[in-house]
Subunit: 372 residues, 2 copies
């Protein structure tokens, strides 16, 4: 038995068409000056356009090695010595740690706390100053599924200081909620391929035409000379296949996941002591649930041994108490016992039923051991 419920960590690649074509005919270096190489170059262009299309973004797009690099790039692009920045206390480490670095460089950074689990536009706007260089607020939180109203937040920021750049980490938003950034004022938006059934190692930064990012690396002239190094063409081609699939199947997939989400919440409410960390506004794909008195990593391991795969907070920071849940006001014991169940449209109601049953069983067992 294998039940994969850790889709916020990564997703199963569904890119068969790409693999076949890449290995046979689409592996040329896109910088080379002959027809099959130029075809690869055009494939990249198609992917850029598809990204702008599915997000409604009007601007440029460069490919990076993933969401982390794209988020780093957006934030570091706005760096001005001594300037002021705003982000939230619930950002992914690749945003949060970049701001921590900027602080060591003399930047002033305000970390907005969530109201419950979501970031409020007025809380962000209240911190905007005349010297605010950039505001970075994630679209969907990777641990709780909380969805921030980035249109309202960006609008409030720009109303107070139209020169402040606005970035949003959309890694967990793409195809989990409808995205239309047209007329949003958003200057930078980050996406990642492996969260939408493509491959790890590819992300992209969408950017306003008047706010080209700085380059983080030095070398050749690839990606408009903004991101040197031979492009990850397989990853970019796979991204395109996943974007097409995600776009065409969006409504149907969302309906499936909405149904699963409802069943999941019902099932969890029947487990003694389960505390769902439930944002007011959220995507249905990600559910954080605490079992106070149980250590999350022990529960995850116990389920893993039965072939049921769920997460402990973010996949990339195992073992630590969640900074995000703590910022959301979740107590220490609850944060310690918080697991993340994250869904895709590939999951079934039966899988959820099995998972819920095993969680109920394991939680009971672990609590009994814990009390001894």
């Amino acid at each position: 038995m294998k039940i994969y419920l850790d889709n916020a960590a990564t997703t199963q690649p569904l890119i068969d068409k790409t693999l076949v074509s890449h290995i046979k005919t689409a592996w040329y270096n896109p910088s080379a000056a002959y027809a099959p190489a130029e075809a690869v170059f055009l494939e990249m262009k198609k992917t850029r356009q598809a990204l702008c299309d599915v997000t409604g973004f009007d601007g440029g797009c460069i490919f990076t090695s993933g969401g982390t690099e794209a988020n780093n790039m957006a934030i570091l692009s706005a760096y001005k010595k001594g300037a002021h920045y705003i982000t939230s206390a619930i950002e992914h480490p690749c945003v949060y740690e970049t701001f921590r670095y900027l602080e060591t460089m003399g930047a002033q950074v305000d970390y907005v706390r969530p109201n419950g689990f979501c970031i409020e536009a007025e809380d962000v706007a209240a911190l905007v100053r005349s010297d605010t260089a950039l505001v970075s607020i994630m679209h969907v939180n990777n641990e709780t599924g909380a969805q921030n109203d980035i249109h309202a937040i960006c609008g409030a920021v720009k109303a107070k200081n139209q020169n402040a750049a606005f970035h949003s980490d959309g890694v967990q938003a793409l195809f989990k909620t409808g995205i239309d950034l047209s007329k949003s004022g958003v200057d930078y938006y980050t996406v990642s391929a492996h969260k939408i059934h493509a491959l790890k190692g590819t992300g992209a930064l969408l950017y306003s035409n008047n706010k080209a990012p700085i380059r983080l690396h030095f070398g050749g002239d690839q990606e408009y000379a903004l991101r040197p190094g031979t492009e990850n063409t397989l990853g970019i081609q796979a991204f395109y296949e996943a974007l097409e699939r995600g776009r065409d199947g969006f409504s149907a997939a969302l309906e499936i996941v909405n149904g699963l989400h409802k069943k999941l919440l019902e099932g969890l409410s029947a487990i003694d002591g389960a505390e769902v960390n439930l944002p007011d506004i959220k995507v249905p794909h990600i559910v954080s649930v605490s079992f106070p008195g149980v250590r999350a990593e022990v529960l995850v391991r116990a389920l893993g041994e039965k072939g049921i795969y769920i997460g402990t907070g973010a996949a990339c920071s195992r073992g630590k108490l969640s900074r995000v849940l703590t910022a959301c006001g979740v107590g220490k014991s609850s944060a310690k016992g918080a697991v993340r169940i994250s869904l895709s449209a590939l999951n079934t109601a039966h899988e959820l039923a099995v998972c819920l049953e095993e969680i109920g069983y394991e939680v009971k067992k672990l609590r009994r051991f814990g009390r001894r």
Copy 2:
């Protein structure tokens, strides 16, 4: 007809085993805490070990998005304000441009000129100072195939200043020449997957245990907290398959390419006006040849239309006069007419014969047009 002779730009992926296993079972997030994810983590460890094995390197290994990022990382790791650096005038742009950046940050950089096409140990050693922080000399040049004796160069550097770090860009050396870095004193060594029949988007930096690189990005704790972001696991798994294949087939492949190289030089010598830019010591995989009076990109396009794919200098800097060839003393007219023919063991003598015939034909034609 398709004849691919641009193997220094990129190589055809030969990674069928990896693709099948990755898509089915090996796509999990290696940071997750369940068995199939931990298996992916172990696959990465295997690839690290394989890289150390095939290079004889004793130290650490982190994966990057490619050779460019790894080279950047090594060089920037040694940055100290106002310190002195040595590199060569024939480095790849991702090394050269990183030093140009360091110069803007106040670093003093000496660019060693080649003696002919190769960098001499005594020329490097003559520039070493007590405040030299890092010396970076490539192992094999990507445009000419020139092979530098990095053992001698590193030894000479360390003899003069044992605190100076030594880095070598080995992107074009792996499986093109025997590599044994054990007891070489080399502190950083860069490799890339897509030059050895694996995938674009994956490289690695090998580093001495006492010289851990700095991180260029901020985020999660992946790669010993040195390189955040979900790892490109498919690329790393494919790298392993290519490393195994490259290691097992090394002698046989080198023999094939040596034979092709001999035929290529013979064939070129029969073409009127061909000037092979021939290093004293070189790998047989890369041949630079000038046809003065012919514009390289026109020749490359003409051949491309016939399905014969060769390169103009480096794939990533098309259209510009080669800085590398110029530094090697190749005159302007010869540099303008320089193409790169780069071989792999997949090529055949018949392919070379066809290529040589078409080059002879096109060069004659282009010269005739040029004279009008």
